[in-house]
Assembly symmetry: D2
């Protein structure tokens, strides 16, 4: 990593040393917010941001994300987590408590088309994606120069259908070695096996170059052109075993017209893909996404 980015990360860690995030989902009932906020208050924590949502308020599911500032968080966090299990048990909560200073580690997978990777690196350098980009994995050499220019380890792992298992073994090994939290498929263009997906639940974000569920699968821009649509789009989603069927995180579109040939669609699409993927990754890094069934709640 470049020293200026290292500095940025260090400053961030310092500035947010007492900042924590609590994400909870549980059956809805009165008293949840009261219990959580009393708990936080008992640790002198100040709630900075709080978002909640209920599916069918009566007898449904409750979700909350709280960002708080808590003096001496580092000293308290283990105790807090331990104590919170009681509340969690009482309300049957799924939950996670993440200290913000523990900057997440990201791996980016890329193929030959670099626009999504470049956008992520750009946002990262300007401090808009707070993460440690630990490594880039590619089945092509195209990204090597730019990645290594930023002092990020680059792993060239040629890939194709026939050697999928070996390739993924190497990749899984690297992900473990680097202790990766977030995996971004920045137009990686290779299908992942159920084994790989199962090993990384709700960790893999993919960018699909269409407005899902339109144009699932290959060659979406060509098919959009043939269908004569007046808008094209892109979709960032978590990867599950069903191709392009995982929980959608973000989508966006751009207006096109009869003059827009396939090349123009691709060019415009690249710009949408870049921003849609960057937003999805940013939200994941900020613990803003809860997956419920096959949907996302983005706080």
């Amino acid at each position: 990593m470049n020293s200026s980015i290292k500095d940025q990360i260090e400053q961030f860690k310092q500035r947010y040393q007492n900042r924590g995030r609590l994400l909870v989902s549980c059956p809805d009932q009165p008293g949840i917010v009261s219990a959580i906020s009393q708990f936080l208050f008992s640790y002198d924590a100040n709630i900075i941001e709080s978002s909640q949502y209920s599916i069918n308020p009566e007898g449904g599911v409750f979700f909350i994300r709280i960002e708080f500032e808590c003096p001496f968080l580092k000293e308290k966090e283990n105790e807090m987590a331990e104590q919170f299990t009681e509340i969690a048990a009482k309300f049957s909560m799924d939950w996670r408590l993440t200290p913000v200073y523990k900057v997440k580690k990201t791996a980016i997978f890329v193929s030959k088309e670099l626009h999504c990777l470049l956008e992520l690196l750009w946002e990262w350098q300007s401090g808009d994606l707070m993460t440690d980009i630990a490594l880039v994995i590619s089945n092509h050499q195209a990204a090597r120069d730019v990645v290594e220019g930023l002092n990020i380890p680059f792993y060239y792992i040629p890939a194709n259908k026939e050697i999928r298992d070996q390739v993924e073994e190497k990749q899984l090994h690297l992900l473990e070695e680097f202790d990766i939290d977030v995996i971004v498929l920045a137009r990686y263009m290779q299908i992942l096996t159920p084994k790989f997906v199962a090993a990384n639940p709700q960790k893999i974000i993919n960018i699909h170059h269409s407005f899902l569920p339109a144009f699932i699968g290959a060659r979406p821009y060509e098919r959009a052109y043939e269908r004569g649509v007046k808008l094209i789009g892109a979709t960032a989603h978590f990867v599950t075993n069903d191709l392009d069927e995982g929980p959608i995180i973000e989508q966006d579109i751009a207006r096109v017209d009869h003059r827009s040939e396939v090349d123009t669609l691709k060019k415009m699409g690249r710009s949408i893909e870049r921003s849609v993927l960057a937003r999805a990754v940013k939200w994941q890094l900020e613990d803003r996404i809860i997956v419920h069934q096959n949907k996302t709640i983005v706080f």
Copy 2:
């Protein structure tokens, strides 16, 4: 029709008595624009607006739409049309020459949900849709009051699968009787037979309440909700025999999030449907649309 709308139409006819539109498609080659513009100049016509487009400039297809002002158009239009056949033959043109003062006659088909109908009537009353709304046909009584309140003939024709043929016979009869140019399905919700469609080629505009080709068919908002999309949309298209597969004229979308339940999607969707359909109808009334294969060129 209300007298104020009648006045509007009369004023329009007067103001644009010398305005004509020429739409042409033909194999591309040098000299087309030159031939057409010389032709118009020979009738003292001044080109007011002109848009053109070529698919594959070399050896492809050429499209042009010209709006012109021609003194004494009414006296000249028959001769112009006759004379133009020579040029048309030379360049193998498909073409039409429409005097703007011949205001098009529109039939609106509607069911129980009135938002699209109301939008069209609204835009029509404010002078934004220049047409003679000759009649409204519905399989429900819901629209009667508002339609008859504007002195537009309202025909209640109950419809269902079993009696489709009889129903369409009545409808076709009315369309002929009123000499209809444009048929708008403003959420009519009944499937048309190939016979009906064949009798009205490129005349029927439908609004589909999804971003096609996503969610073709029934219950698109429910399915959008289940899929967890972050944008919903609507599509105006010409009706062909393949359900929701006709040439797309216009599409638009709105942003939704996890809080948006099916009812919210429908509510937001209604607003998109209204504006998308109104734009498509407007373009058709202004002769801005050329259908080429299964796509539209909108000038």
Copy 3:
């Protein structure tokens, strides 16, 4: 009011008889959310929706809006309000507790251009604006038919600079008589005196037909045309004594180009004005807006 709208309102009151909203602003400090949520829990209230925001979390200002469902709210609401004063005093809160079943009363002021009024009536009839439109006041007769057609009292009060004081006296009298909560200037086009404004603090919503602070004052579309802008807009804001300087609630824009003449800008602008104003009014009716200094927080 039409009976169908009356029915809608009655159903709404029934459905939300136990729904309340609590809006609070106060100096930020730890413990606020805990105190509020414990308070609500002590009345068996379930928090349905909650949004909060802090300006400068440390030592700044804290804002929260909570929507809750509380069994037997009608029986409890007075006691709740009374009891809450203690918490309010402790944290120096500005606050309001509004039961949702107390449907707000709205007065609409309009002049000759009816598009904003019509949009509000439309949204109101489709159940999207939950309010009792108690009366419409106008300095022209143009709106009379449509307003009275919906059984809403219509007051024709001619207005001009010279008789401003008398006019406003009549208007204030009507507002008091009808016990009005929200005043909407739906393109009313008359300037209000400081006296009128002072009598209705944060109650008057105006739609300005430009993207403020661009084109403050008269003839914004003409001036937008002359300046050659590529986007036009509209702004809904609370009325204060400084013309077009009050807290902005909502804004939106549309893309235009060199072809767009003043008339086109006005036509497109009408559509933006309609939706921007409707959104602002809806948020006000749902108690989503807190004014802080000269800005709005919209939850």
Copy 4:
């Protein structure tokens, strides 16, 4: 320049060796299109794209942009230009005939904030801005590495009010030396003298970080924050002697809310500035812009 970009430019020149553009403005009258299209046809030119516009069709001003493919353009272009003067004289035309293979030379001025420069370089490397970026001039060293890394000459010319004349002399000298067609102020942040502006009429494109005419002048994001706007924007315009008052080429906006602090506005604004400036520069390079009085016609 990098060799890969050099290759791109060479391929472009080769591919469009016979492509020309004709831009005309003149008093409107019948026969203009006919005369121009006959002229082009007489050189065997095929019209590929054509856009026109009239202000006040009767007795107003007529504008047209034609892109054509003409075999052996290089051999014919001088004769064509010479012959066209006759038509131009007859219709009192302002006009220019530009062969597409003559790739325009661009100078970019930049200060410390690099996002606009980086976007232009990015689009340029991906082939979306067809130009020869001949040099970058800056009053800071911040851009040196990235510019020189692409083998583009970088000139560091410190600047401030006191030495404005000397600074501009150096700059003008460089512009002349490099035979520059387009000057882009990519957040240059220095005011130019009337002398500099007069020497480069309709050649200088600036990006202003607000939605003009709102927030003319300094610190627009701070002022947008203070005013509490709900949308922020950016504007690309030609530079004239009146600060931020030149003809607007393009504008865009993004939605913000009460949570958006000044830093967020700046961050979001950077993204709008990037795309707005890139579009404006692209249009200028493609000869799509005609300036008429203080407005642009963008074809």
